[in-house]
Amino acid sequence: MRTEIENKKFNIVGKPVIRQDAYSKVTGKAKFADDYKFEGQLFGVMVRTKASHAVIKSIDYSQIRNEDGIKAIITSDDIPGNKKVGQIKIDQPVFCSEKIITSGDVVAMLVGEDQTELKKLSHKIKIELEKLPVLEDPQKALEQNAVLIHPESKTNLITHYPLIKGNVTKGFNNSDYLIEQNYTTQFVEHAYIEPECVTALPGEGMIKVKIIGSIQNPFTTRKVVASVLNCSLSEVEIIQAELGGSFGGKDDIMNVLSARAAVAALKLNKPVKIKYEREESILESYKRHPYIMNYKVGFSKAGKLKAMKIDLLADGGAYASMSPFVTWRSVVQATGPYEIENVQTDVKVVYTNNPYTGAMRGFGSPQPIFAIESIMDEIAITVGKTPFEIRKINGYRQNSVTASGQKLAGHEVTLPRVLKKAADVSSFNSKWKSNYASSQKLKQNNFADKSESLILTKNEFINPKNLLRKGIGLATSFRGCSLGAEGIDNTAAYVSIQPDGTVYILSGLAENGQGLRATFSIIAAEIFGIPIEKIIYLEQNTSRIPDSGPTVASRATLMGGGAIKNTCTELRNRLINVLSSYWKVSRKNIYVFKNGLVFPEQKKSRKIKFHDLIKLAFEHKVNLSHVGWYAGPKVHWEEKTGHGSAYFTYVYGCQVAEVTVNVGTGEVFVNNIWAVHDSGKVINILGAVGQVYGGTTQGAGYGLWENISTHKGKIRELNFDQFLIPTSKDIDKIHPYFIEGKESYGPWGAKSLGEPTLELTAAAIANAITNATGQRFFNLPLNIEEVLLRKKLYPESLKRGSAS
């Protein structure tokens, strides 16, 4: 029997499909977590201290204990199970009882009917603290006398990943040139537009607790809640509400909030809701890791890379969270998509008293990409080549070997195609050369070193015709798809054809706003040859579908789509069986499912409507429901040497940014972004361009504006007046292009796109700014002060504008 439709024209795959949830979202009908309201519902309000690092000596609730507004004060003592949680290291208390180690830490939760009143009462609690030194600088975390954030782990080191390929010393000796540079990146907030919200309800029947919330990974949440409640996984039911953005951010924090709500709901036998405002969200939720990076490269006169030594230090903040996985992706991808004989990489991540850091779109890639793509441009300039040429010389091609010794085979290594396309559509080479020439000329006259005085000298005024400078910059990357060698990689799907020919589908992965439901519905509609309106996507509920791991790592289309395709194909085969015996046409024929009809390709005169075929199958007592599976192939990693086949396949991307820099004010305007991505087969072109628009905009935000800074461990930017994300007016044109490289995994070779779109933009913009100004910048974000003064400026006080 053959059911291959790979080489046929697609019915719907690759076409623009409006997602089914679009109308309910734009008309306000979609139900987000806070739209669920329950009778007798109470609110949980957090109690925090003013410290970033302190021993809790005592907490005195006597001022509020007898207040009518308080139904319960929930603390660590109320937890029946594990008092600490964590996905890799169990180091994060649900409620702090001994120590405060970061400013977002929570010591208790007040439960009552009125959130506003509870907030007022929370200020009356007397907390006696003994302050400890605050460790803010990750570079000091491993010093001998550094204060230990988690004394029980005996070191502030969370993880260290080494990688050695060849011999860098030899490589440097054989090089014509050496360049060494330091780069830094900042904390970044996910800035999902919907802040955290979750409700826990006392369960009915054999379910102990039911949780409805803005949850990225319902199965992870279930595991955490079960561990805190000391109950079985099956007793916890997690239902995902519509999610108002996540970007990797509604994982750990939602697990902890769900656990807090669950403990309270069971204690009081009432629904308990936790609902954060923006300040609280930014205060407690985890961030993207800041990195401090040192790159040393050796290369020949011809621009061929000979050796690269990389030291990356990530700030893990107060809790390990996903740090070990985030930094593992960094060790795999730190060299960028370049074949180098000799590589030595060390990636370390450490505890500090800063906000904790975890998963965020990009996941350990945007930081090293900023560094490597900056230094590649410097190499190009050193040897007199263009950024395009230097990448062409060193970039991966078919069968290249990565730093970890993995041969890039089994999929099409499209980097050369991607790179060429990006350069062609943006006219990169000619623009870059002409901008470079004028920036070199003007550098002599106008972008001169500034005097110490705040008052300008007459020669520091800029001729208006030299004020606005154009620049173009390019960045490329390779990215391992899905979880890689550190995770268990498989997914489930449930498909059930109803007697009238409509189809229920559900995946074990979760809709996070990325449009997974539309993608999966397209896959099912394609295989059954029916309109997408006949596919009904079911509610996400951990009791209804097998655990499929987290919805992360741009793995939904690849892994979840693979499972949907496998499952639908299994049912389709059952239908073909029915048909071939009914028609007495050999099963070896190719059956076509198209436009609601099914027919053998060779004998088009024989036709049956899809819903008649379903009727027939039901009459023949055929099971038209199936739970299918898609498992990733084997991958492995040697932690001591950094060797292995890290990921089973990769995607390639190249982005070009064109900017205008006002060299008098430091303002940067993004005129154009050309984004060329090989994400494998595109399933929904509308969803794909949406990913590019969103990802590049978020990437531009990372490059130019977004910044969470701390003062003695406390966050300055607690709302969107200070944490600036780009608006639609800040980027002019975004031009997406897709190259569909050959791939054997995923549905028809569809792979990953969500994170690749984000990881390149900041680096491309930084290179464009250099092209415009002749100056290179090493510390993200490249905001107005950085571009003009090469530093960040912060107010002395944490007080905000009119509040003071």
Binding site: L456, E460, L467, T727, A803
Partner: protein
């Protein structure tokens, strides 16, 4: 947390004045609410004692734009969207329109009012610098009196004005002669929309045969409140308008701002940049 117990909807300015008669600060006029409502949420001490809001959104007397003889009058409850779409203002007061376009977002401009902007008197209020160079005056009413004051004199300190608890600003008046001067406005924000000014600058210039007859210059965000720089204007008066003098004017402005503001955390950036912006604006206005 909104402390308000009562929201009143008067139908006329007289009724507002009556309501304000014995106000001890617990009643507050609200128009667009784009400063007050977020102020409630951050529990700004400026608003914590407010018990009564007097909503003036439906009062037509405060929502007019008119031109007669030599004065353009704008009701204090006119929104920035209304300013932007008004033909007269586009023609006569381009700096005010340009500044209005840079305020917040479309949604904020639909609610925020001209009066609210300078009565709140944030250092970064974007309409203030243009109003100052246009020599704007305001009309203030109470139950028993009515007076006219220069906007310059009305603004006292950050978030502070001469407005008394029993008073309301009803309109802004700009001499039409101001509109005849050539000028420009520049707002420097960290991004292009929903952006709080880091620096704003408004310049008006009257040149005759290459000599500066009159220069008017005002800044926002770089001084504690929007400020007109009369001494810089005096310095410029009578000078030949050339590259050299424009640089001198810009330097003079930098020195004055440094005098007024002192060295702050942001000075290292703002002081050089405001001079650069001033020079660039003068260059642009001159052509």
């Amino acid at each position: 947390m909104i402390p308000v117990k009562e929201i009143l909807l008067p139908k006329s300015v007289d009724e507002i004045c009556r309501l304000l008669q014995n106000n001890n600060g617990t009643s507050k006029i609200i128009a667009g609410g784009t400063d007050i409502v977020p102020g409630f949420h951050i529990e700004s001490p400026r608003f914590t004692n407010i018990e009564r809001l007097i909503d003036i959104n439906n009062i037509e007397e405060l929502k007019f734009i008119s031109i007669n003889n030599d004065v353009i009058s704008i009701g204090s409850a006119v929104t920035f969207s209304e300013i932007i779409s008004n033909q007269i203002l586009n023609e006569k007061l381009p700096l005010l329109v340009k500044a209005s376009k840079t305020i917040g977002s479309a949604q904020i401009r639909n609610r925020a009012t001209l009066g609210g902007n300078f009565i709140n008197n944030a250092p970064c209020a974007d309409s203030v610098a243009p109003l100052l160079v246009y020599d704007a005056e305001i009309k203030i009413k109470s139950f028993t009196s009515e007076k006219i004051m220069k906007l310059q004199d009305f603004l006292v300190k950050p978030y502070g004005t001469r407005l008394k608890h029993n008073e309301i600003v009803t309109q802004v008046m700009i001499p039409i002669s101001s509109g005849k001067l050539k000028g420009d406005f520049y707002k420097l924000g960290r991004r292009r929309a929903v952006s709080i000014s880091r620096i704003s600058l408004a310049v008006l210039l009257d040149l005759s045969e290459g000599i500066i007859n009159e220069l008017r210059i005002a800044s926002g965000a770089v001084t504690p409140i929007g400020t007109r720089f009369y001494d810089v204007e005096q310095f410029a008066k009578g000078k030949v308008m050339n590259d050299e003098s424009m640089k001198e004017i810009a330097i003079k402005l930098g020195e004055r701002i440094l005098d007024v503001s002192g060295v702050r955390w942001s000075s290292e950036y703002k002081i050089p940049v405001v001079q650069q912006m001033c020079y660039q604006l003068l260059k642009k206005v001159k052509c």
